[in-house]
């Protein structure tokens, strides 16, 4: 595989994986904080 394909695959595909992982991690972390603080005031 040539260098150009590597670079663009890393940017567009690798970048998406990093963004999704980061957003999911952030969302779950914030959720745990809200549950701990009782912010939701409601249980599922």
């Amino acid at each position: 595989m040539d260098a150009e394909t590597w670079v663009w695959t890393l940017i567009l595909f690798g970048g998406t994986i990093v963004v999704v992982a980061f957003l999911m991690f952030w969302a779950i972390k914030k959720d745990r904080e809200k549950v701990r603080q009782g912010t939701h005031d409601e249980e599922g």
């Binding site: 595989m1 040539d2 394909t5 663009w8 963004v19 999704v20 957003l23 969302a27 914030k30 599922g44």
Partner: protein, 505 residues
């Protein structure tokens, strides 16, 4: 504010993970697997992907945030939410949004049935080593021309989804989707890794990710990217609005919408790698052009089905896995469509235990013509697919009518990252973006050679679309006041409007 208290105890998603998983399942559908790879291939790979990312940021995320706010604050389906946000005279807008998505549900169940049928074909080893494109064409034509089979698998799809939705949130769709959606990503990853390890996969990656910079100056690429995004993310369908009725209080608006759009994009890329790299590696460049030019069904049910036969492990592992992914992606979206219909019918006063079987039965019966006639299905896909753009416009109008600054202030109180002035700006300019995209579509319809745009009986004509939209809008306008009266109260319902809600519905 209403003096009628909403239901004392209501079902809500048990965790944020379950909520996001369900919403990603709503967004990820068959289009991610069979349309996205074709679009990327047709529109310059990386250049198209960059345009899709921009479309996601400026269009999908703001609209999903708006839907999220409407559903979580109104605590009602699309009809009630529009009544309470835009005013009772505009209840029909929520009805239009519901009808568009329900009309899609009717034929989408048929498509899910195809995927289930092909999963059964694959499991039973139908795509054996050495199978040719002519033979898979024969399998497809034999299936699609057999009305008993297409109707049977349509019944299986809507019956299965009806059963899941009938069981409600906690025992039904939350329980199913928080397992199915992560499993979908695992299976897509396996398919993508397999495709990447085939000799010649690099050429597929090149097609997918390396931008052809010249194309970024092509207006049509941008319009195609926005259209792809509009159909893919679920923005404007009312499905996310419906799921947000079950959001817990003080839940985030901004981060959730961003995570859902990003998750949907990742699913599309995984599917793109799995499909395009397989086609390039096993079939070569010439076949790749032929396969991606053969339409959604041609690519999936004819070319990929044939290529699995030439792939090591293809017949009994990768073919069943691929069609299982296609079926689960379809089912996870169909669940949201049935729930949208159920939420609106329950808001109108019917008990859920009655509403869901009735909806499943109606969906089965109304979906039969699409199961029997591919032209009719294509017509419906065209009419209501484009109709989604109008629904998106209605969401933007609802936000502007309710007050953009007030919404932004309230979103900021609960969101995990700041909702800046960018959000109000993007909603405000939405009608302009809509006019450009819709205007381009109208121009294409009228100028396309051989397209009888004035003929309402032509499958893909502009007149066929407009006539159906106008008929639906006219009926809803006539029913507007009755709908506004019948839909139950929510926390935002003005006094003297709507029906008193009964506890537990």
């Amino acid at each position: 504010m209403s003096d009628v208290k909403p239901a004392a105890k209501r079902e809500v998603f048990g965790s944020r993970f379950a909520f996001i998983a369900a919403a990603i399942g709503m967004a990820v559908g068959t289009g991610n697997i069979w349309r996205f790879p074709r679009d990327v291939h047709a529109w310059g790979g990386g250049a198209f992907l960059l345009a899709v990312v921009v479309a996601n940021l400026v269009w999908a995320i703001p609209i999903l945030m708006a839907e999220s706010y409407m559903g979580s604050k109104a605590r009602l389906g699309t009809v009630g939410a529009f009544r309470d946000f835009v005013g009772r005279r505009f209840t029909w807008m929520g009805g239009f949004m519901a009808v568009v998505t329900i009309a899609i549900m009717f034929y989408y169940s048929v498509v899910c049935g195809w995927a289930i049928r092909y999963f059964v074909y694959a499991v039973t080893g139908r795509f054996e080593q050495g199978i040719t494109v002519d033979e898979t064409t024969g399998i497809w034509e034999g299936f699609i021309d057999n009305g008993a089979q297409t109707v049977l698998f349509h019944a299986i799809a809507i019956g299965l989804v009806g059963f899941i939705v009938y069981r409600g949130l906690k025992r039904g769709f939350e329980a199913v989707l928080k397992i199915v959606v992560p499993a979908l990503f695992v299976m897509l990853t396996i398919l993508a890794i397999r495709a990447l390890t085939l000799d010649g996969a690099a050429e597929g990656l090149r097609y997918l990710f390396v931008p052809e910079w010249d194309l970024l100056g092509n207006a049509e690429l941008w319009l195609q990217a926005f259209a792809q995004m509009a159909f893919s993310t679920g923005a404007g369908w009312g499905l996310y609005l419906t799921y947000c009725v079950y959001m817990r209080r003080r839940e985030d608006f901004a981060l959730n919408a961003t995570a859902i759009v990003a998750g949907n994009h990742l699913a599309s890329l995984l599917a793109g790698i799995a499909v395009i790299c397989t086609v390039f590696a096993v079939g070569g460049v010439a076949l790749a052009d032929e396969a991606t030019g053969a339409g959604n069904e041609g690519l999936t049910f004819i070319y990929l089905a044939a290529l699995f036969g030439d792939m090591p492990g293809g017949t009994y592992f990768f073919a069943p896995l691929f069609f299982l992914v296609l079926a689960l992606a379809g089912v996870s979206s169909l669940i949201a469509m049935v729930e949208l219909a159920a939420r609106n019918v329950v808001d109108l006063g019917m008990r859920r235990e009655r509403a869901v079987p009735l909806i499943a039965l109606v969906a089965f019966l109304v979906g039969i013509p699409a199961a029997l006639n591919l032209d009719y299905l294509s017509n419906q896909d065209n009419v209501w697919g484009i109709g989604l753009l109008i629904s998106m416009l209605f969401v933007a109008i609802a936000m502007m009518k309710y007050g953009l600054e007030e919404v932004r202030r309230e979103m900021n109180a609960d969101s995990d990252f700041g909702v800046g002035a960018w959000w109000t700006l993007l909603i405000r300019i939405f009608p302009v973006m809509f006019a450009i995209l819709f205007g381009w579509f109208l121009y294409q319809s009228v100028t396309e050679p051989g397209n009888a745009w004035w003929d309402p009986f032509d499958t893909f004509s502009l007149a066929a679309m407009v006539v159906q939209w106008v008929v639906v809008a006219a009926i809803l306008l006539v029913l507007n006041n009755a709908l506004a009266r019948r839909v139950s109260h929510g926390p935002l319902t003005a006094s003297g409007v709507g029906r008193e809600r009964q506890i537990g519905r």
